[in-house]
């Protein structure tokens, strides 16, 4: 029961790098204009909201992969 743990660690590592890429691709170019003095606050709030949603999605996917890899052991 060691190989699946190494597989899971490797998948999590790839997911961290891929998640970072997704965050970079979506958030980095994002700029909000047209709200005067509120531009910066809105920009930060929207970026924070997107980042939190992406993290929730990341945890959900990682959790599904965990159930799939450790299915037998968790059932037992």
């Amino acid at each position: 029961m060691k190989a699946p743990i190494y597989v899971y660690i490797s998948i999590m590592w790839i997911m961290i790098i891929a998640g970072g890429g997704l965050l970079f691709t979506i958030i980095a170019p994002l700029r909000i204009h047209g709200f005067g003095g509120y531009d910066e606050i809105l920009d930060s709030a929207v970026k924070a909201g997107i980042a939190i949603l992406l993290v929730i999605l990341w945890v959900f996917i990682v959790s599904k992969i965990k159930n799939w890899i450790f299915h037998k052991q968790i059932q037992n």
């Binding site: 029961m1 660690i9 590592w13 790098i17 890429g21 939190i52 965990k66």
Partner: protein, 335 residues
């Protein structure tokens, strides 16, 4: 560069020697005061002194204060204060059993000095996350939230893996040296030097904590190590690398939380994730309501001795350490 090399050698020696010499004295003091706990995995149920946090803290403080005296860096001060506050949180939990939510909230408070020092001394932390292959993402407001979350996460993650003789200190030795190497790879030499005491303190403590343990770190020891690791990750701008090096412990916490579905202490569990065979080996429990943990998965196929399980966790830590170092090399590569 030569003076930095000398400083690195001196503080590493101070960290190692302080813990190496102080821990036996602490063991005797704790035994005299009857501050001992039962080692449930040991044949015959031996009692072991706890907590070893004071000697761990002494090693960290002695070495980091010398480093601060040499370089007067606000980042080193942030590491010192956060680590000390996390130690106090752990000590409070060692002395009195506190609720499951106390530690995360109190550890979040321990992170505040990093934010405050960042206001008065810009550069203590950067308001961006560095990702391998892609680059930096600037998230000023979200980064403050990340600092507040990071210390409770690293602190509790190390605390949650402190379930077998030598595992927390051995795991921390591997993860922190991987972090130090990574900091050198990303050319953050000052914080790389500041991170050296964490590895040497963990290594010196491992001598007494390894199977059969002569002392347990307790919450004060585990939270001190975990919080210092988190503080280094923040001031060293290597949050992602730090998370990768900690993956086996992160998986342990993730498995535990997703099976119990709330934040609780191990002592509040109705049934343990592992049981003992007649020859005192560890085997996976068959209880439906027992949490899923890393140790339970390791012994799922066959019962193993405590020492074997510990070495399996160290192999997983070495694998994650290698991934963390690869990640550090990938920081300079952009696609």
């Amino acid at each position: 560069m030569l003076d930095k090399t000398i400083a690195a050698v001196v503080i590493s020696a101070i960290a190692f020697v302080t813990v190496y010499l102080l821990t036996p004295i602490l063991i005797k003091t704790l035994e005299k005061r009857k501050l001992v706990v039962k080692d449930y995995n040991r044949v015959g149920g031996a009692v072991v002194p706890r907590p070893g946090g004071p000697s761990i803290l002494a090693g960290i403080m002695a070495s980091e204060i010398v480093l601060y005296a040499l370089y007067s860096s606000a980042a080193i001060l942030a590491i010192i204060i956060t680590t000390f506050l996390a130690f106090l949180v752990g000590l409070a939990d060692d002395r009195k059993v506190l609720g499951g939510w106390f530690k995360p909230l109190a550890l979040a408070g321990s992170a505040i000095p990093i934010i405050l020092l960042g206001i008065y001394a810009p550069g203590v932390y950067e308001s961006h996350l560095a990702f391998p292959l892609f680059g930096h993402v600037r998230i000023p407001e979200l980064y403050i939230a990340l600092i507040i979350f990071m210390i409770p996460i690293t602190g509790n993650t190390i605390n949650s893996i402190d379930v077998l003789n030598g595992v927390a200190s051995g795991f921390m030795t591997i993860a922190s040296f991987a972090l130090t190497i990574s900091l050198f790879i990303v050319h953050n030499y000052d914080i790389a030097i500041a991170s050296l005491p964490l590895g040497f303190v963990s290594l010196a403590f491992y001598k007494y904590h390894k199977f059969p343990s002569r002392i347990f770190p307790g919450d004060s020891g585990a939270l001190t190590l975990g919080a210092m690791y988190g503080a280094i990750a923040i001031v060293g701008h290597v949050e992602i690398i730090a998370a990768v090096a900690l993956l086996p412990a992160v998986i342990n916490s993730f498995l535990f939380l997703s099976s119990v579905k709330r934040i609780i202490e191990h002592r509040q569990l109705k049934s343990n994730p592992v049981e003992h065979t007649e020859d005192s080996k560890l085997k996976a429990t068959t209880h439906k309501d027992a949490p899923v943990t890393l140790v339970r998965l390791i012994v799922a196929n066959r019962p193993m001795t405590e020492k074997e399980v510990g070495f399996t966790i160290f192999k997983l830590a070495l694998f994650s350490a290698a991934l963390a170092i690869i990640t550090a090399f990938m920081m300079d590569v952009h696609i």
